[in-house]
């Protein structure tokens, strides 16, 4: 049995924000490890950071920022009742996500070809801090990548709901919450990018 559907726009948003906090904290654990180990192995971290591909990292940052913009525009579009535009913008976001994952794939496979991956013979023989750096790199970008996939799946599903008319200008909190989730994915990348690619 279920109660008659009640709608509470603010409540739904509040719940989503709380959930986003938990996601931030999840990555917080990895950032703590990063801070501690950076303090312990500054040289190795900097050596590791220089091996990452800054160009690809930057392109990915631009892609992700663009996708966030598209997601935000989709929210405005649905509020204005522009169904086709909403779907188009959501599609664009998902496309960006795919591009991001593709580049990530290229980056990872290049590293793996050079023998840099957790537990690889090269890292085991190298300086201890280096293996820590790359383990953290793979874990952070890997878990982030997982979130990209989840977020893209979510937005794709929402796009279908927009098409079927289940999400429209009077009931769009699901779209808004999914976009919030997408901004979170973006936000976390905005921390990962400088920590691993830029500042070392």
């Amino acid at each position: 049995m279920s109660h008659p559907k009640h709608t509470d726009y603010n409540g739904d948003k509040l719940g989503m924000w709380l959930f986003l906090f938990t996601e931030l904290l999840l990555f917080g654990g990895l950032f703590i490890l990063y801070a501690v180990y950076l303090a312990r192995y500054p040289k190795e971290f900097s050596a590791g950071g220089h091996q990452l591909n800054l160009v690809l990292g930057t392109i990915n940052t631009v892609i992700l920022l663009t996708s966030s913009l598209l997601a935000a525009m989709a929210v405005t579009a649905v509020q204005r009742g522009q169904q086709r535009l909403t779907m188009g913008l959501l599609g664009g976001t998902v496309l960006c996500a795919a591009g991001f994952m593709l580049i990530k794939y290229l980056e990872w496979s290049a590293k793996i070809q050079h023998g840099i991956f957790p537990n690889s013979p090269r890292l085991i023989q190298g300086a201890p801090g280096e293996s820590i750096f790359f383990s953290l790199y793979y874990l952070s970008t890997g878990i982030h990548g997982l979130h990209v996939l989840i977020g893209a799946g979510l937005l794709g599903w929402v796009a279908l709901k927009v098409r079927s008319g289940a999400i429209h200008s009077h009931d769009y909190v699901l779209l808004e919450n999914s976009a919030l989730y997408w901004h979170l994915v973006d936000l976390i990348w905005i921390f990962i990018f400088p920590l691993y690619y830029l500042m070392l």
């Binding site: 049995m1 109660h3 709380l18 931030l24 904290l25 820590i132």
Partner: protein, 536 residues
């Protein structure tokens, strides 16, 4: 008073059979689902605990060898912590009672609520599977400390996946409850009219939200250490095992407050009802829940005094630990002041509540011995610790859970148990409990370590005493459950408001209607304003 109305939540139309339960989004049905699940796991845990005690009855090998013992205390700990005590209060009584206490029809996200229970079940099943597959049941202790947890051949990987899913379930419950309490309070239900049980759930939900993600990432890290060989905690690769302990306790110490806060809440609801007096210091109790939640997040290091962490850190954590004692003591003093000059009636819920105060105080005070760095070095990892946390978790939360069962379940079943049976059971449990765990504390003081299947001959007598205590406790438990459930299903009818409670759940028909309130309630008085509640 009214008799059971035809349309209560038991016989509501719609789906039938089992699917009317396992797919129900009604918070009362989900609450009962949780209740029976956690109770089942509690009994499993008790059975394991009794086996552990039988092994320790005499020195040397009694009924099992070291590997079995290691696996059993791990499973006992994991079951009790992750499957009973953490989800127990929020899942069972939080779901059953909280929406009614704030005058709502349901929680904010009913479907998410059902999903939480399913996640809970999935996590539990995965943990059970991990016991019998792979290298066998985990033997790391419930704390999964590295480096052992990354090296052992037992099935730790699957077990941490199970616990991860349970954590997800807890987070969703937390999100749901905070949103519910913010958004769905009835008209007139101001923050200072919230029943204290709801207040404590609110604080608990915040801890669930803020602490559980750290557990999640820690478990992911163990998993990746084992499966990918990331080496983040492996000194030979430059990792630091102490970082694991930090991450683990950043979650697990606040988790202790997930266990105890709702228990304190229910005690704060029961004591005034059975003393016929408004609670003493309502605001301080509500505030101290938040203070415990906040301060409790900063004390994780007191589990690590002997880990090799820096002395400065030890001093700071020790100091902070003592600060948590203040809001806890505020509560105890307020309960005692509520009792003062009250007209106390010693029915079953009250007896359990009173023993909570005593046992929790003993557990809390021994906590200070552990919290002081100097004395901790002496008793760390001994049976003193085992005694301490059983006093807090079992004597505290466990007894509060029993109090809640005797206080609220009749309301939902419309039938009640025999007071006499409940009191006999309580007496046995209380005696058995103290015999069982007080002996452990003494043993620990004398130096008997924890997590060993064997011990030196000089510890024999007290260990035997302790084991006998566990049997008295078990008999009491059995009588309690038989008496309670016989009462709930076949006992005398329970209608109206026999305890004379003033919170909203006592103002609605028994058993509650599906929609909880026949008309939208408007709250005009506080939760402990007993004028007109009908009890002499």
């Amino acid at each position: 008073m009214t008799t059971a109305p035809p349309d209560n939540f038991w016989n509501d139309t719609g789906r039938t059979g089992i699917s009317s339960w396992i797919f129900s989004t009604d918070h009362k049905r989900i609450g009962l689902l949780y209740f029976y699940s956690v109770l089942t796991f509690f009994l499993v845990g008790v059975a394991l605990g009794l086996l552990l005690r039988i092994e320790l009855m005499a020195p040397g090998r009694t009924i099992m060898g070291p590997q079995t013992y290691n696996a059993l205390f791990t499973v006992h700990g994991v079951v009790m912590i992750f499957l009973f005590i953490l989800p127990g209060f929020p899942g069972a009584f939080g779901n059953l009672v909280m929406p009614i206490q704030i005058g709502a029809r349901d929680v904010a996200f009913p479907r998410l609520n059902l999903f939480s229970w399913w996640l809970y079940l999935a996590g539990a099943v995965i943990i059970l599977v991990s016991l019998f597959t792979g290298g066998g049941a985990p033997d790391t202790g419930w704390t999964f400390y590295v480096p052992f947890s990354t090296r052992t051949g037992t099935n730790v990987s699957l077990a941490v996946v199970g616990v991860f899913i349970l954590g997800f379930s807890a987070i969703l419950t937390g999100v749901n409850f905070v949103t519910t309490i913010h958004r769905l309070r009835a008209e007139g239900m101001t923050w200072t009219r919230l029943p204290l049980f709801t207040w404590s759930l609110y604080a608990t939900a915040w801890v669930q939200i803020l602490a559980t993600p750290i557990l999640a990432i820690t478990l992911v890290l163990i998993f990746s250490e084992r499966v990918l060989g990331t080496g983040l905690f492996d000194p030979s690769r430059g990792g630091d095992p102490i970082m694991f302990q930090h991450l683990f306790w950043i979650y697990s110490h606040p988790a202790v407050y997930i266990m105890i806060l709702p228990a304190m809440g229910i005690i704060s609801d029961i004591i005034p009802v059975f003393s016929r007096k408004p609670i003493f210091g309502y605001k301080m109790i509500a505030f101290s829940s938040l203070a415990i939640a906040a301060a409790g997040s900063l004390v994780w290091g007191h589990h690590m005094f002997t880990s090799g962490m820096s002395d400065n850190a030890v001093l700071v954590f020790s100091f902070l630990t003592f600060i948590v004692a203040i809001p806890s003591a505020i509560k105890v003093f307020n309960w005692v002041s509520t009792l003062y000059k009250g007209s106390i009636s010693l029915e079953a819920p009250m007896l359990f509540a009173l023993s909570f105060i005593l046992l929790f105080s003993i557990g809390g005070l021994t906590g200070l011995i552990l919290g002081a760095a100097a004395t901790d070095v002496h008793v760390h990892d001994t049976h003193f610790v085992v005694g301490h946390f059983h006093y807090v978790m079992f004597g505290g939360t466990g007894f509060a859970f029993f109090a809640a069962m005797h206080y609220w379940l009749p309301k939902f079943y419309g039938r009640t148990y025999s007071q006499r049976g409940a009191i006999v059971a309580w007496a046995l449990m209380f005696v058995g409990f103290n015999v069982l765990y007080f002996s452990m504390k003494v043993l620990g003081m004398k130096g008997m370590p924890r997590r060993y299947y064997d011990y030196l001959p000089e510890f024999t007598t007290l260990n035997l005493v302790s084991t006998i205590g566990s049997w008295i406790l078990a008999i009491g438990l059995l009588i309690m459950l038989m008496n309670l459930f016989r009462g709930l299903f076949r006992g005398t009818p329970f209608t109206g408001n026999p305890w004379g409670g003033a919170t909203l759940e006592w103002s609605i028909p028994t058993p509650p209607p599906t929609e909880n309130f026949i008309e939208e309630p408007v709250v005009t008085h506080g939760p402990y304003d007993f004028t007109g509640t009908g009890r002499p």
